[in-house]
Structures are given as C-alpha cells and as structure tokens.
Symmetry: C2
Subunit: 278 residues, 2 copies
C-alpha cells in the first residue's frame, strides 16, 4: 500500500492510496477522507461510487463533501470506477471497459477476471478500509449516475452490510436503457436473469430490503434524464412494493458535479442520521 496524497482539509486529511486488489488483480487508487473525529476513535464510513469515466479524483476534488464529513464525523471512501492498467481489457467507448466497471462481476470474455467491481466494493474494499482502526464497520453507500446504480443495487442486495443508501442521478433501470444494455450485454452476456440481479428497479420489484429507505436526487435539466436515467421507473417500482423512497426532482440542475456539490451536504446528513444516530 502506498500513500500518494496527504492533504489537510477541513481539519482532517484527504488522502489518496494505491493498493493491490486481489479481486481485481491490479493496482487500484482510492481516495479516503479522514474527518478530525477519526483521531479520537473509529468513525462510520460512507462509500462513494463515481460515474462513467471517473477516477477517485472527481469526487474528492469537485464535490466539496469533506466539509460535511468533518461536521458529522464520517470517513469518505471514493474508489476508482473499474480495474485499470495495460493488462486490463478495454474498449473504445467511454461507457465500456476501463472507467466503466458498472459495479458487477463480469462473466464474459475478455472482461471476466479483472472486472469484478461488485466483489471489490462489497467485500475487499471495506476489509481494506476497516483494517485502519480509524474506520468502523458501520457503512453507508452513495453514488452518481453509474455509481448511483452501483450504490442502490449493492445496498439492496446487502442490507445487512449497509445502514444507509442514497444516489444522485442514478441509472435505475440499466436493463432498459442504452448505457446499461451495452454494458450488461458485454459483461454478463445474454442471460437476462443475471441482468436483473444488477438492476435497481428489478431488485425493488422483488420486494427485498424494504427496511432500507432510498434517497435519490435527480436534476430535471439532466441531459441524460429521459434516455438513460428514467427515475419514474424507480418511483413506480417503489410505489408498487411500498419501498420507502424520497425522490426529488431538482429544478434546473444538470448531470454535473455542480449538482452533486449543491446537495451532497443533505445526503451526508441523511447518512449521518443512520450511521451515527444523529
């Protein structure tokens, strides 16, 4: 493990680490923000999953989340969005391959092997984080776009492992939109049952994890709203199964980090209520 960055920030430290992932069989970079409270004892951890094309840098430099994490005493962990490196398969488009792991375990070639972001996020990364005595095993998860899909699906499939979940502009029904269909066909093949296991709307329809309320913010000027995101499908599924959902259409906001920065404070307060009982 190597510490690449170590920067004072809101009384705590914004670090970036490189560690070897056994699951992904490559080196991975991870941003970790330690709030000032981490010096006194273990803090709960909020995992942030980024969207297409992102590395760990987008969230840690643009979201302004450290201020709120410092207020609430929450560690922020922002991993990269896929396995990386010259030995890792890739594709031409921005929406498949490196930078586009979609938080699942690929079964198809050439992706199977390295592309196991589901196992990395659910198991290996928390184990690595919680080896630090500053981090407790109390976990929340949040993300944006492809990472919103990742946060919602992972939490719904593992309600025993996450106390809270929220998302910005998530791909709620990847099986029904171009980004998801392209990625799922490549990573998972034609087996639609495998697709359903990574589709938020399909998971909600199963009626699982209803103890986990969902907070979703979506800009109504988002350029991907109708083609890729389709939050009304999530609303319908939650209504049909009485899954608690707070879905907010934010007027004027787009798909950018300016949107995330504007509301990440409310998301962190939401998570703090579940993670710290605030």
């Amino acid at each position: 493990m190597q510490r690449l960055e170590h920067r004072a920030c809101f009384g705590g430290w914004q670090d970036v680490y490189r560690h070897h992932s056994r699951v992904l069989d490559c080196e991975m970079t991870v941003g970790v923000y330690f709030p000032p409270q981490a010096q006194q004892g273990p803090c709960p951890v909020l995992y942030w999953l980024s969207g297409l094309t992102c590395s760990e840098q987008n969230f840690i430099t643009k979201a302004g989340a450290q201020r709120y994490a410092a207020e609430h005493g929450i560690i922020l962990v922002a991993p990269d969005t896929s396995p990386r490196g010259p030995q890792v398969a890739d594709a031409e488009g921005y929406d498949l391959g490196q930078g586009a792991g979609f938080y699942l375990n690929a079964s198809q070639q050439p992706w199977a092997g390295h592309y196991r972001m589901y196992d990395y996020i659910v198991h290996e990364l928390p184990a690595w984080v919680e080896a630090d005595p500053a981090a407790s095993d109390v976990r929340g998860i949040c993300g944006h776009s492809m990472g919103g899909h990742g946060a919602l699906t992972i939490a719904l499939k593992n309600p025993d492992r996450y106390r809270s979940v929220s998302a910005f502009s998530p791909i709620v029904a990847p099986s029904q939109v171009p980004w998801g269909q392209k990625a799922f066909a490549a990573y998972l093949g034609d087996d639609r049952a495998a697709w359903r296991a990574h589709d938020t709307v399909e998971l909600v329809k199963l009626g699982i994890a209803r103890q986990l309320p969902l907070l979703v913010d979506q800009g109504d000027a988002d350029e991907f709203l109708d083609s890729q995101l389709r939050p009304e499908l999530l609303r319908q599924a939650c209504e049909a199964t009485a899954h608690p959902l707070t879905l907010r259409l934010q007027p004027g906001y787009d798909h950018s980090y300016y949107f995330i920065a504007s509301f990440i404070g409310e998301h962190i307060a939401w998570h703090a209520a579940a993670l710290r009982g605030e």
Copy 2:
C-alpha cells in the same frame, strides 16, 4: 460575448463566458457565479484571481465557494490568469507567459501588448461585469498564490475601487523570490521602481491604503512557503507601518485547493462584512 457553461449550483448559476478583451487583444474566458439573490437585485462582486497555470476552471470546480456566495448573496467572478491564444507570446516554463500573467502591464517585448492583466482586472473586467444589472459596483478581491499577489497589490493601489481584500498563500514579496524575479525581469525589465509598484511588501512599506485591512491565510506545510511566499516579510512590513493585518498560519495545510476549500467560507464571510455590512 458567448456563454460557454450555465449550470445550476446552490440555488444560483455557475456560468462561464468568453468575451473579447480590448485591453488584452484576445478572447478571454471568465467564470461568474450568480447567487440566488442576484435575481432580486444587484449584488456585490468578489473577484477571485487564480495562481500559476490556472484557468477560470480551477476555482469554480474545486474551491466549493458557491455555497458561501449563495449564503451571503455575493457574485463571484473568476477570470483566466493571462491572455491566451496562438497569437499571444508564451514561454517554456509554467511560471512565465500564458497562465502566468502576474496581474501587471508588461513593458518589455515580446510581452508588451497582450500582457496587460492589471488594466484588465482593475478596469475592463469590472466594467464588463457591471454592465449586468445583477452586479453592483461594490467590489472585493481575493486570490491564491500569484493571484494572492494580484489581489493584494491591486487592492492596495486602488483602495477607492475595492472595499475588501484577502489572499491565500500570496507571493507577498515578488521582488525577493524566484517566481517574482523571473516574471518581473521578463515583463518589466530592469527598472526596480516598476517592480516595487507590483510588490505587496513594498506597497505596504509606503504606508498607503491603511484603511484596507488585509486577511491572509497561509498553510505551514506549503511546499513554497520559504522559497516563494515568505509571509513573515508581510508581517514585518505591516507592523512597521501599522497596516491592519490578519495573518493566519494554518497548521498542516499545503498549497492546494483543499486548503482554499477549507477556508474560503471564512474569507467570503470577511468580504461579506465589508461588502454587505453583515
């Protein structure tokens, strides 16, 4: 004038414009944040001057300043750091030429002509901003590193034009450090009197503009602290002339935007007190 970006942010709008600068004889990009209050009537304007290598993007994407501007009802204007374009002279290093305008009017070739950032910031940019009815002519100025030098020198030379000034990690004595000596020799030639007119410590020693208190934050882990920044020279000059100075050495902080993000809220509150009487 062309609007390149228009993004909802904290209830207001983060815009980026391209406009023709007559003073610099080139196209310039400018970030402008309009807080929600700008819809009701004219708001005071805080000008942000960035450091070496920066464009308008660094501040608007990384500082997290919009939140505080929205709280206080202040417009933020973040210009580029030099004239730009293929017809504009440049140099190999990051610390001279494009991205390194040093907020002065160059008298030497090949820089004279385009490199007139002093006139641009003091006169042309405010006139352009204040043509918008949302902006008042009540101005504050703030900046980082080379831009901290710009903010302090410009405010000290124009106390009738700026009600407030502050800086992060400013180059307070450019005549005495390598960054400033290289730039001043290139842009201003050997005339040391011309150098003094753009040197914060020299301006303070003249005892001018003592009605304008200075707020300066400096990280004590800043990698440029002893070689380029030397805040103790500012402290000595202010003590010698009874110039009001709040100089804070912030333990652990470096030269990055993580430092700026951590304290920009306090700077904007400081400016709001002068600009809005808060």
